[in-house]
Point group: C2
Chain length 281, copies 2
């Protein structure tokens, strides 16, 4: 079972290839050792949104994992433009993926393989935004938090646990200090309307950065340690991500946040974020 | 660059295929999310060594990662036998790899892909065994230690650091408590000739198990917490793995172990292990 996107192209082995015919040899270090990094950005109206931030993080993740991106940032931008032109999707997400390459001995990296794929973008449903979501917490911390590696062993292993709890996502915490979701950042709004997000041991989300800047125009913002006790006192909570933008969180484990409905500040920031994204078009 | 084993077969998509023509679609969850488990055993004289142990661990790793092996243990054994017959390698290692499968959305698992590959086996050189190795330590713990996942993000990222220290491997420790190497277990011999290996947060190595049993015939053995302080007082130290068997460790970071040469107990256990392996032929 492969995704049935018969008309889409991917970029692989230095050329554009139909997605359905895009394969890696099994000696690739992503298959052998889960070794690779990636990044993911939105395309709206044929234009990448906040592309420069995602490119910088992609190269930074590669550097942290001692991988070399085989093309320059300008060359990568040109490839992205061609991919968008070829695929003609009205609203999409583009994934850039860099693996450890074909390994001669199944452990030492080879020449990295660069893949780009583009898929139709699925945004959260309006009902989900209006009701907010429940999340659970899990004792865990990502291994190399500043790098966007392809390692989602813990996140995917928890998919069933999340479903069984009727939750939508899982927030990692260690000794009561919370960090991030497998694919999203975490924010709280304190009783005195300060917008707070963890600073240490998290991926530096592009949406996180934008939300912090938007919030700072109206509120006090803090990037600092956030504990489970902070959550217990929070007025509002939400997550941020490229695809989800801002999703209100109304329950954490068995604890209701605020009055159990999405908060005023959260909704305001989401509206501001959508407005900011429009300026990119 | 693919490994140049022109005549070897792999098992993939339910059939035997030339290794060089063995590919996975890029929607596979190993490529997208580093999600998969594996195991690895030796074949000597056409016979798998300690196969039952490796099969049990393979199915246990799959269970821990919520993956289903698409064949029974008996069916898998039959596939292994056929692979050995086809490849005719005098001495080899067989890798069984189970990925999260082709994912429709790049995150949720599909039907797992089962791959088997067989490669010529490279054992440690006699000189390495006679001189012993230097290792370094690194603050880290594997995420799901009892499962043999394909996640080697940390181990491979440290390859250059190991080389720069003129070391051969890296031992993980957390707050002074040591656990394991990326691909090997760790043992010390205490001043009173007790053979000790960490019990918690380690992969249960098959060679580790065999060495513990062999050691118990002559010495006191303990599986318990091992600290950096224990290493400082150890008379001998060694690592165990399927391919490396037993390798003497003569230096940990800047500290020499014993008199800086492989110890008597270590050499004795290695001889006993080789004898035990012979009984499997």
């Amino acid at each position: 079972m492969m995704p049935a996107n018969a008309n889409l192209y991917a970029y692989i082995h230095g050329q554009f290839t139909p997605l359905q015919e895009s394969f890696l040899h099994i000696s690739d270090l992503s298959i052998q050792r889960g070794y690779g990094i990636f990044d993911f950005f939105k395309v709206q109206g044929g234009k990448p949104v906040f592309l420069q931030d995602y490119l910088e993080r992609f190269y930074e993740s590669a550097r942290l994992m001692e991988l070399t991106v085989p093309v320059t940032s300008d060359e990568l931008t040109a490839i992205i433009t061609q991919l968008i032109t070829k695929n003609k999707l009205p609203q999409s997400g583009i994934k850039m993926l860099l693996t450890g390459g074909y390994s001669a001995n199944g452990y030492d990296p080879g020449e990295p393989n660069l893949l780009l794929t583009e898929q139709p973008l699925v945004l959260p449903e309006q009902e989900t935004i209006e009701k907010g979501i429940k999340i659970i917490t899990q004792e865990h911390m990502r291994e190399i938090p500043r790098a966007k590696t392809i390692n989602y062993s813990m996140g995917i292993r928890l998919i069933n646990k999340i479903k069984e709890a009727n939750a939508s996502d899982v927030l990692y915490q260690q000794n009561g200090v919370v960090t991030e979701f497998p694919r999203c950042n975490f924010f709280i709004v304190t009783p005195d309307d300060t917008i707070v997000t963890p600073d240490k041991d998290v991926l530096l989300g592009v949406t996180r950065k934008n939300v912090l800047q938007l919030a700072a125009r109206k509120y006090k913002t803090e990037t600092r340690t956030v504990t489970m006790a902070d959550i217990a006192q929070a007025k509002e909570a939400f997550l941020t991500s490229t695809t989800k933008r801002i999703l209100p969180i109304v329950q954490v484990d068995d604890r209701m946040i605020g009055n159990g409905a999405p908060g005023k500040v959260t909704k305001e920031l989401l509206a501001d974020l959508i407005t900011l994204e429009q300026t990119q078009l």
